[in-house]
Chain length 428, copies 2
């Protein structure tokens, strides 16, 4: 990307009412644009981060054997009636509207009910199971307050996965594999160390559900962390009985603020029974389909990462999700500019994503923007290059300048992304 | 994709009220699921077609120098007030709802106004221009009737691009380049021959706007086509004066039904003036930003293609957008199954997208599903393979069976997709 082509330059000021650190930084750095409280557009740099996060999640979900689909936002009353969740007294965050004929429609805040309705028309036999599908969906939730930037939106992007199983064992097997896949996702986006599998209330379905909580001062949840066991307990289930059951000691636990970045639900047979989704087993007997559901807040994750990795100069992206690996700029006139043009072509030709700051502004402004945008490597083409054939390279996380020739530079910036354990080139 | 893992098998019956050929075929073949009239979910196969169409469009838009972003669906009244288009009497297809505090919100049916509001906070100087952005967005339109399947949805996927220019010449230059890019898109999805640049009413902005109309019996528009000149005229501007102006003869024109798959608008300075989007030119003088906007109906395109390419056995996808290149199946027991497993791994390992019908059903059912799904190549592993090392391969569009060894097979199915003129491997 040539920065001169990017409409969305960095800003000195953010909307005065904006309180959340993530939104302030992301707006200033030109990643998002505020439409209203809780609704942010993803500008070209922000969309790249979102897409990079989605790619990591997609790889891990595909590796589980789940297939991607895309459900509608528009929801009909009939779909949500069997579980009682159409009622605004039961679910108080619906956005609703009407068709021209007066029929009520809602905008999807979750997709458990529609996915079960879809399954009902497709699953008839044990041969159809197990099956798993997932989607990246824009959810709408009519939050009373929306003051946490992209960490809690009225409109936000979520990955939700649903698995249909024949029985509890089959469900549990997938559930446990997904738990591991989720930990790999958080590891790959850079939050591995600060993200904990957290025991939370299972509601009316099971004793526990599992949340994935990332420790961060701006988090809305309070959890108790056992750092050595890599386990946490949500305050809602923090009591002596449960600690004993989980084999945790109060003295090993640290109370921290955290943001929920993922959750997984084991519904057992309940949703199948509620929504009349049954299959015929090997013996011709009617059995309820077992449902589990698995969510990751994609745009929330971007917000949590922005809160987590920044300094006084701006954002600091993990190389796996940065909108570009390299921030390239030239200092000087024609010669260095044409050398920078050439390097831009070489890097992009080698599959390295580059933000090329080709604007006619002072170097100091470019350096400041490179830091504010949080791009992992800053590469400068200066007179020195013309003399010695060396580029100046600096990591966003260090103040050390290195001088490298083209081969060494290419090697360094191409190795930036680590491949996930399950990442495959094959299409299937 | 192993078909045994796909929840969404083909169906014998479609919802009785479904009238549109595209929806009937796409539902039966397991590409879409009807949520309500005008709102369809994209099942795994359908989402792949959508994503393949998006990839082609994305490549062509990137080649124009446009940058991808993603605006919100949620819209505030303030954004739409300056043009008067918040008013339900002016725009009668809004879905609207309320925030908890009673404030009205709308769901985006277009994004001209919000994109101009965003630009207003970013564009100040002639140095910021020209700039272009585009998005793939889910639009909501409260259509009175929605009987055309995915060809006219209440919820649908659109690619909309917006270009900001300093003056009319700069706008026109981009406008003309985009017209060519659009023709390449329609060519690459297989609709090149039947899609015409069509002169239509320019409304209050210009004399003409340009539509891209695909000739199809189920189209909602009537156009007059000059086949040799590759130009058409929408009936709304079909009169002697305009034909003379365009140098067209009535006797060369054929009246046909067509579906609008794309349109491009030249707003000149009007939107900039309406919405107070100005920049300072080289001489420090305030000038309105010139806007042009460019739309392609992505999900509509899938519908038009389904209507256009099918036969009594089912869908027929162009290789560039098919959900897979190969439909693979084995006839026989262990030996042929393990040979098919091996071929599946080889093909996917070579980047060929495969639907592997590994279900325990009769070969006839598999053949029928291969045709119904419309996958370009059907590959059968049978006893003959074990004897001669030959796979049986058949094109969806032919009844001729070929017998090829692995090398010849790989060559045939890997060459299926033609690369677009502007397709590049580089990231930038």
């Amino acid at each position: 990307m040539r920065l001169s082509q990017n409409i969305t330059k960095t800003l000195k000021n953010v909307p005065a009412e904006e309180q959340a650190i993530n939104a302030k930084l992301l707006i200033r750095a030109g990643y998002i644009h505020k439409e209203m409280a809780g609704a942010y557009s993803y500008l070209p740099l922000g969309l790249r981060v979102i897409e990079n996060i989605k790619t990591i999640i997609r790889e891990e979900m595909n590796a589980l054997g789940s297939l991607e689909l895309l459900m509608t936002s528009l929801q009909s009353k009939d779909t949500w009636r069997p579980t009682g969740r159409w009622d605004d007294k039961v679910v108080d965050i619906w956005f609703k509207s009407q068709l021209k004929n007066g029929a009520d429609v809602g905008f999807g805040w979750s997709h458990e009910e529609p996915i079960m309705m879809m399954a009902r028309s497709r699953i008839t036999s044990y041969r159809d199971l197990p099956a798993s599908v997932y989607q990246f969906q824009t959810k709408f939730r009519n939050e009373l307050r929306a003051k946490s930037g992209v960490m809690r939106g009225r409109e936000f992007i979520m990955k939700d996965m649903y698995t249909f199983s024949r029985n509890q064992d089959e469900l549990d097997e997938f559930y446990n594999r997904t738990k591991e896949a989720y930990l790999r996702v958080f590891e790959r986006v850079g939050l591995g160390e600060s993200t904990y599998v957290t025991f939370a209330s299972g509601g009316s379905f099971t004793q526990f559900s599992h949340e994935f909580q990332t420790v961060t001062a701006s988090g809305e949840d309070t959890i108790y962390v056992d750092e050595s066991k890599r386990i946490a307990v949500n305050e809602e289930v923090y009591n002596d009985e449960i600690l004993a059951q989980l084999g945790l000691n109060k003295s090993d636990l640290k109370q921290v603020k955290a943001a929920e970045v993922g959750n997984i639900f084991n519904f057992g047979a309940i949703k199948g029974e509620q929504m009349d989704v049954y299959f015929n087993d090997e013996f011709g007997k009617k059995q309820p389909v077992y449902l589990s559901s698995y969510g990751i807040g994609v745009s929330r994750l971007m917000g949590v990462i922005a809160e987590h990795f920044n300094d006084e100069r701006g954002l600091i992206w993990h190389p796996n999700i940065a909108p570009a690996s390299v921030y390239l700029l030239a200092i000087g006139k024609e010669k260095t500019i044409s050398a920078a043009d050439e390097l831009y072509n070489i890097l992009t030709g080698n599959g390295v994503a580059v933000i090329y700051d080709d604007r006619d502004v002072r170097p100091g402004e470019k350096f400041a923007d490179a830091d504010l945008m949080g791009i992992p490597w800053r590469v400068v083409v200066s007179e020195q290059f013309i003399e010695n054939g060396h580029y100046e390279i600096k990591a966003r996380t260090s103040d050390t300048l290195k001088h490298l020739n083209l081969t060494a530079l290419l090697e360094l910036v191409s190795d930036t992304k680590d491949k996930g354990t399950s990442q495959k080139k094959r299409k299937d």
